[in-house]
């Protein structure tokens, strides 16, 4: 422990606070009748749209093919993920102050596991919305599912769905990269001594 505070680690953990400022992911639907597209933003704690009416408008479109309504209040992850992020921020700050490479490594691995779990969870929700269709749907296209891509672009009937990380996703990635650099640096300084 050559330095009292690992500043890289401190920055890496504090970056997580930005997840409450920027959305993680953005899914944009475009069709000829929607020249500007309809964008849905997935945050750590909420789902929003271009404006306060976007979810209603997406739900109206979705009900023709029998998709469930997207009701953010019914998605428990949006309630407990914020606590996990706050915990990881606090833990990361503590680790930065200890500057213990084992603890940094543990924090990094935990974040990676959480990240993978989060993406898998996102996929499951997408799968559920895309496949769990009402059998009374007015428009049924045999063999058709409406799961948006996890990452990339896909045509869903007349809509082109683009799904990409937003600023929050980038911040999360940057946090993990920084903590990895913090881990490496921490090892080098140890070996040098």
């Amino acid at each position: 422990m050559r330095r009292r505070i690992n500043y890289l680690m401190l920055i890496a953990s504090l970056l997580l606070v930005l997840l409450f400022v920027f959305p993680l992911w953005r899914i944009t639907l475009t069709a000829p009748q929607y020249p500007d597209g309809i964008s849905m933003f997935i945050w750590i704690n909420k789902i929003t749209g271009d404006n306060e009416y976007t979810l209603q408008n997406i739900n109206i479109l979705n009900h023709y093919v029998g998709m469930q309504y997207i009701v953010p209040e019914s998605i428990p992850e949006l309630t407990y993920f914020p606590y996990i992020i706050l915990f990881m921020t606090a833990a990361g700050v503590a680790v930065a102050f200890t500057n213990n490479k084992k603890l940094i490594g543990t924090w990094l691995v935990t974040m990676l596991i959480l990240g993978i779990l989060g993406i898998y969870d996102f996929y499951l929700w997408e799968y559920d919305y895309g496949h769990n269709l009402s059998d009374k749907a007015p428009i049924k296209v045999p063999g058709m599912a409406y799961q948006p891509p996890l990452l990339g672009t896909k045509m869903l009937l007349n809509f082109k769905a683009d799904s990409y990380p937003h600023w929050g996703g980038a911040v999360l990635g940057l946090s993990i990269i920084l903590s990895y650099v913090a881990l490496i640096k921490s090892r080098f300084s140890h070996e040098k001594s």
Partner: protein, 645 residues
């Protein structure tokens, strides 16, 4: 072949500047008016509908019709004047008047420049002025003008829309009374009205000026140095009341009345105005409650010229002047003497000097008549016949329409020299240059609004739409670009750069802001209530169903109000509603809006209702049933959605 074409185009291009006809010119005209699919026009143009009572909105230079805004006439297409919310807009002191003759649209101004907030327009027949909100393109206020007959010289705003004005084209007994028509000279008077806009943009009559019983034809307010004055043309200074086409055309000169409204404000403050008992209505539409209400006023302030020196002067003007137009500097006041070949131009500076020197020919009912030679700036010897209206470009040129010789003549302000002339098809009335009656004309285009169509389009029987022509006025010579039919009979028009308006145009009405007394905000609140024989159906619409869509327990003789709230909050998702057998029009409800259809069921049976605006893939399924029973029936009121009652 390609080379040949290239050569032809090249050589033609070389001559193109001078050519005014031929195939190349047609191609270049086509390019100038071509607005590619999906692209927007450069200007909004607002044309009055004349006897249609409405305003039509066009894009320029394409000449594409964008919208018809109902103003003074009921419009079954939009439910205007049919739904309960807009019926009060057409109230007058005579009751519900479902039609008027809309003449002169006028954009609101700030510092003498059209600002895109409102459009005003006069109703000629039952004197009224309407105000349209250009963020929603809806009529939001209509005020009735008392002591007037034929509100023609209106609305013509002042530089900051402090006022819009009204003048009486038909003098009438003031106040109205039952007298012999032959007593015209004794009993008939004119009224020049100034309608003030308050901070919220609401209109009310500030004062009327009592003037001799002539016909007050058109008006324009001063600008720049002449800000504070409004000019009205008069004819029938002969004060005839029959066979006016002859009898009102005898005097060599009639007048332009110059009213100093800032002086009028002083006299008002001094308490010089008399309160005349009368009755007039103000109808206001509120964009949050989506409802209009009528207010009745029972008196009006009247200023009498004999008691208010300096309030009004007459400028002698030859040959029954029609339009009066003030150039962008505010110095020149153009009188378009409709029975002559020439235009008379007065000078504002000379007018002020003549007033200071008391250079008066005579005084009529307390109104000094200024000496003609003392106010005359110049005469435009046009070579045409029947000048009606003049507009201006940004380069010091004026353009005047000639009804009889069917042409537009371009002339230089100041030198009065004629620069160019272009034929119109046929018999042009007003013309419109975007910003052409303001301090800063955009110029570029000129629209001639013609009165006679005849062979210009495919024939459509005896009745044809009127015709408009678009000219490019950016060069030395006017170039006709386009010919397009218009709605009703456009009199005047207004044009404004699209950018001033388009970004302020609303897409929806926020449901949360809806304060309609009978709105509901969700399907959960949908219900039917009875109070005696009044039944209120609180209904919602959203793609693709109404809630409720099965209703029973309505009886013959009931007074049924269907309050439909459109829950949609997406752009361009209106829903309509119509009920079989209802002696009414449809509703057409915008997102977030509530409108009410009134229905008196006549016979027992089951009545379908449905959405009339193709809203979605399941629009054809957007329908329901209302069961109507005998008046004596004891079927209980009940309703449902998605299940049997």
């Amino acid at each position: 072949m390609l080379t040949l074409t290239g050569l032809f185009v090249f050589s033609a291009c070389k001559n193109g500047m001078k050519q005014n006809s031929g195939i190349l010119n047609n191609q270049s005209a086509a390019q100038k008016v071509y607005v590619a699919p999906g692209e927007h026009d450069e200007y909004y143009a607002f044309f009055s509908g004349g006897f249609s009572g409405q305003v039509s909105v066009y894009g320029l230079p394409s000449g594409r019709l964008l919208k018809i805004i109902p103003v003074f006439s009921v419009d079954a297409e939009k439910g205007y004047g049919f739904n309960e919310e807009t019926k009060p807009m057409l109230n007058t002191s005579f009751g519900f008047v479902p039609w008027d003759d809309a003449h002169h649209p006028e954009l609101s101004q700030t510092n003498g420049i059209p600002d895109g907030r409102w459009l005003f327009i006069n109703g000629n027949n039952t004197p009224r002025i309407a105000k349209l909100d250009l963020s929603t393109f809806e009529t939001t206020e209509i005020i009735e003008i008392p002591n007037s007959g034929g509100n023609h010289s209106s609305p013509f705003t002042t530089e900051n829309s402090e006022y819009v004005v009204a003048g009486t084209r038909f003098s009438v007994p003031f106040p109205q009374k039952d007298v012999a028509i032959g007593s015209y000279k004794d009993n008939f008077k004119g009224a020049l009205s100034f309608i003030k806009l308050d901070e919220d943009g609401h209109m009310d009559i500030a004062f009327q000026v009592l003037v001799p019983g002539y016909d007050y034809d058109l008006a324009h307010s001063g600008k720049g140095k002449s800000h504070g004055w409004t000019f009205f043309t008069t004819y029938n200074s002969e004060q005839s009341h029959t066979l006016k086409e002859i009898n009102a055309s005898q005097n060599d000169k009639d007048f332009i009345a110059a009213v100093n409204w800032k002086k009028a404000e002083e006299y008002l403050a001094q308490g010089k105005a008399q309160d005349y008992p009368t009755e007039y209505l103000i109808n206001r539409y509120d964009e949050h409650s989506h409802t209009s209400t009528s207010i009745t006023r029972n008196s009006v302030k009247v200023l009498i010229p004999e008691e208010c020196p300096g309030l009004i002067y007459y400028l002698p003007t030859p040959k029954s002047p029609h339009g009066v137009d003030v150039d962008p500097t505010g110095e020149y006041i153009v009188g378009n003497g409709k029975l002559s070949a020439d235009l008379t131009v007065h000078s504002f500076d000379k007018m002020m000097t003549a007033i200071a020197n008391e250079a008066f020919e005579e005084t009529i009912d307390g109104i000094p008549v200024l000496k003609f030679e003392e106010v005359l700036a110049g005469t435009v010897s046009s070579g045409g016949l029947g000048p009606l209206h003049t507009e201006f470009d940004a380069d010091g040129n004026a353009y005047t329409t000639f009804f009889i010789s069917s042409e537009v003549v371009k002339w230089k302000v100041g030198s009065w020299e004629v620069l160019d002339r272009a034929p119109c098809y046929y018999s042009v009335g007003h013309l419109m240059i975007p910003g052409g009656d303001s301090k800063k004309p955009w110029g570029k285009y000129l629209v001639a609004l013609n009165k006679i169509t005849k062979d210009r389009y495919l024939p459509t029987g005896p009745e044809m739409n009127h015709s408009a022509q678009l000219y490019d006025i950016s060069g030395d010579k006017m170039e006709m670009l386009l010919d397009f039919p218009t709605v009703g009979e456009p009199h005047y028009g207004q044009g404004i750069a699209a950018d001033v308006i388009k970004n302020r145009s609303k897409k929806i009405y926020p449901l949360n802001d809806n304060t309609h007394p009978h709105n509901i905000k969700s399907e959960a609140e949908a219900r039917v209530e009875r109070d005696g024989d009044v039944v209120r159906i609180y209904m919602t619409s959203i793609r693709s169903h109404f809630a409720p869509d099965n209703i029973e327990g309505i009886k013959v003789g009931d007074k049924v109000y269907v309050h439909l709230t459109n829950l949609e909050q997406d752009w361009d998702t209106p829903h309509g509603l119509s009920i079989m057998g209802a002696r009414n029009a449809e509703l057409l409800v915008m997102p977030g809006q509530t409108e009410t259809l009134y229905w008196e069921p006549q016979k027992p049976g089951v009545y379908p209702f449905y959405c009339t605006d193709f809203c979605s893939a399941l629009h054809q399924e957007m329908q329901g049933y209302i069961r109507v029973s005998e008046a004596t029936s004891d079927i209980k009121l009940s309703w449902s959605l998605g299940e049997s009652i």
